[in-house]
Symmetry: C2
Subunit: 475 residues, 2 copies
């Protein structure tokens, strides 16, 4: 059995060595600069056989010169030198390594042999190893990051990321904060000769900062262990998974990327399903799902209510919701009567409730959200920009147009609620402001319906598996 704290020095090292720190711009060049900017300068040591100075650091010529409290090394030397360097690091007594170097199993036979040597050296030395062919990790709690990210990506949040590929992890970190997603930890696995997806899943399961887990995989190291781990983790935290290598040709692509054997997709699909995780079909879906799972409580039932200012977009959302296990009950008689009283004759009162251009969105929204017929709310908003532009000249705000979205749920805070807004880009920010951080504003109706369906699916299976009551997201 592995020691529970075995991974701790990866995330909370005392001091870090960068071995093979490059002198010229290119891969890994900025790493020491990044450490400096994150406040890690005094805990960082560079090694390069030429010595001298770099980015204001003194460069050590040999690994043996490193101080004894260094407990994590990041390796950037070429693939052929890696095993030698790993042995030297091991001899120094450093037990945690992140190998960023590429050129291993993903490149063919010769690389496979190099990777085997590397793995053997790690086992012999009792070294824990991330990679090779990865970029390591981010921990927003202590602002330690071996991945070059923008400042905003280090804002602490509840999302844990496991990405097989460095580039993927990197770009998620760079992009998702622009959609209001903030992370706890992010780990890139690369060719995973040692640390794998199951072990990181377990780590994030224990991590109190992580509430939802997002994974990008190209394959699974140990199918049985992965299924068992998922089954445990998903009782407490939702796991969203995007996997490539569905097709034979896609598998060939993952093999030359991270040396992964993705295996038969049906087996993976089965493991995900049985393990209680949510499989996403596209990158865009993964991000939309994360936004909804992070911000919304779990629904008490599958009854979806859709309010919309566009009948078409409402109908598109219905198809997706029904295809994925939600039901659309009629509104209560009380709601129908109340709406009928205050609406133009042509307004279509039902579910979806299509208010059209009646101007009734604000008042209808509050009544609709609070109707007992619904467990889940999707508010679809269409914003014809020409109309908005004119309205804005007359001083009409997004709030006047669609109502006080954030507070419409005040009396029904147990219901998950999502906005899907289609239309003028210029109006999106204003709507997002009115919705507040607790209600995500997605840009299309189908992904919103899909994410709400997944939320119900997760809630149902968790209640079946007899887990504790769902933890509520922080407001």
């Amino acid at each position: 059995m592995m020691n529970k704290n075995d991974l701790k020095p990866f995330f909370e090292p005392q001091a870090v060595a960068v071995v093979g720190a490059p002198r010229k711009p290119g891969f890994g060049y900025s790493l020491p600069l990044q450490f400096k900017e994150q406040g890690w300068v005094e805990r960082t040591f560079l090694v390069n056989r030429n010595g001298g100075e770099l980015h204001g650091y003194k460069v050590l010529k040999n690994i043996s010169e490193l101080p004894d409290h260094v407990d994590l090394a990041i390796v950037l030397v070429g693939a052929k030198l890696t095993t030698t360097v790993v042995n030297e690091i091991g001899a120094k007594g450093i037990k945690h390594l992140i190998i960023q170097s590429a050129g291993f199993a993903e490149t063919g036979e010769e690389g496979q042999a190099l990777q085997k040597d590397l793995q053997q050296a790690a086992v012999e030395r009792g070294i824990r190893l991330m990679g090779p062919n990865c970029v390591g990790l981010v921990n927003t709690r202590n602002r330690f990051t071996t991945i070059e990210v923008v400042e905003e990506a280090l804002t602490p949040g509840p999302l844990g990321i496991i990405a097989q590929s460095g580039a993927f992890g990197n770009v998620l970190l760079d992009e998702i904060h622009q959609r209001g997603l903030f992370i706890s930890k992010a780990v890139t696995l690369g060719n995973r000769v040692d640390v794998d997806e199951s072990e990181i899943l377990e780590y994030l399961h224990r991590d109190p900062d992580t509430r939802v887990i997002m994974m990008y995989l190209e394959g699974v190291n140990d199918g049985r262990r992965f299924l068992g781990t998922l089954d445990k983790v998903t009782r407490d935290k939702p796991v969203l998974i995007l996997k490539s290598g569905r097709t034979d040709r896609g598998q060939a692509a993952t093999s030359s990327h991270t040396g992964s054997l993705s295996g038969r997709d049906e087996l993976f699909e089965g493991a995900v399903e049985q393990g209680g995780a949510i499989r996403c079909r596209t990158l865009a879906e993964l991000i939309a799902m994360a936004r909804v799972f992070i911000t919304q409580p779990l629904p008490a039932g599958p009854r979806l209510g859709i309010i919309t200012s566009s009948g078409s977009l409402g109908a598109l959302a219905v198809d997706t919701a029904v295809d994925n296990g939600l039901i659309l009950p009629s509104p209560s008689m009380r709601l129908v009567e109340s709406l009928r009283e205050n609406s133009p004759q042509w307004m279509s009162i039902g579910n979806p409730l299509d208010v059209g251009p009646s101007g009734q969105y604000p008042t209808s929204l509050v009544e609709f959200v609070n109707d007992d017929s619904f467990d889940i709310i999707l508010a679809v908003m269409i914003v014809p920009y020409a109309v908005v532009k004119r309205a804005k000249q007359l001083g009409v705000s997004a709030k006047a147009w669609f109502g006080d979205i954030r507070n419409s749920r005040a009396g029904a805070s147990e219901k998950p609620m999502v906005v899907a807004m289609v239309g003028a880009r210029e109006f999106r920010e204003e709507i997002t402001g009115v919705a507040g951080p607790g209600i995500p504003v997605l840009d299309s109706p189908e992904p919103a319906a899909m994410a709400l369906s997944a939320l119900w699916k997760y809630a149902r299976q968790r209640s079946k598996s007899g887990s504790a009551a769902p933890e509520r997201p922080r407001k």
Copy 2:
């Protein structure tokens, strides 16, 4: 048989009457203002039984006062008054009407009766009618529009739109110009008591300004005619279709929206397939497809080449492409050798060609695009913003990073090419500039692969049906 020019006064009226022009802000209020802004003030006449003045127009009290050269009337009166007004308009000799009023079949039994009366009046008077429950149309050639749109939406382009719903048409018009899509004509059908999707399809087929047709439907008026029309139209112009009402519950939603009976979805699916059209599954997919069909030539074969700076995103694109009928051949030996010579050892040379952070994108791109192994090119670009930010400080441009995208295809202009860029929003505009208007920059790999697959599917079936050589898009 209908007269070919029967629809002309809808798109090219001599003069227009707005009947029931509202005096208070709300639906239809801005229509006369819009006419004024588009330069139609002298050809516009308002009718409202109260007379007086509105937006600087003199308001006529009676339809009979309209000048004789008015050949199109837009009706905004309440549903219950509509048939009376239509009779008066018919008596005046106006034969083309757009009924924007709602409150007909979509609202239930009473509305169904009103709609029946309306239809009968139109038949008796020999009137051609769009709607009710629609917002009419746009013709960018003469800048005539009964839909309130922003100025930019009136820029002429090759895309024809048929939207069952007014709101849908409106929002497409408002949004798609922000993605580089410009239209020829757009028509909203509403409850289509007379003019329907097949007739407009035929009109757009003949329209020399229209090269690609995009449809949003909630149902089909006459299945047999629709199939026959599609079959004819798609021999010359691609037709992209998004339809709601797939599920029973979704059908109920369309019925209360535009009174449409969407029918069994399998039948519709079959008609689309047999008729040679492309069915899109989501709004986002519809827009991505239109961007690719508008800008790209039809491929000579199914051989897709993917160049990427992220192995993961490359693999995701592979899965989608293979699932949808494309194949990924290996690059030619000549290309492999040339790349091997100039690349770092770890670089994965194949298809996808994953250049990673080698800095080889610009040179590899040109060689890759011109390799005879490929009929279609997908260039996936991942942009880690942290890295970009630092690079920009050093003066590195998007062009230096990814190469001269636009001119990389100079020697292979017969190949469709699409960019999928994931990452920092701030870099997107620059990449779009480097790609130029002829190469769309989508924001995710899967929709790009999906659209390229559809392009090949369309090309193949068109060559089977023995159509003339594909028309090339304008550069």
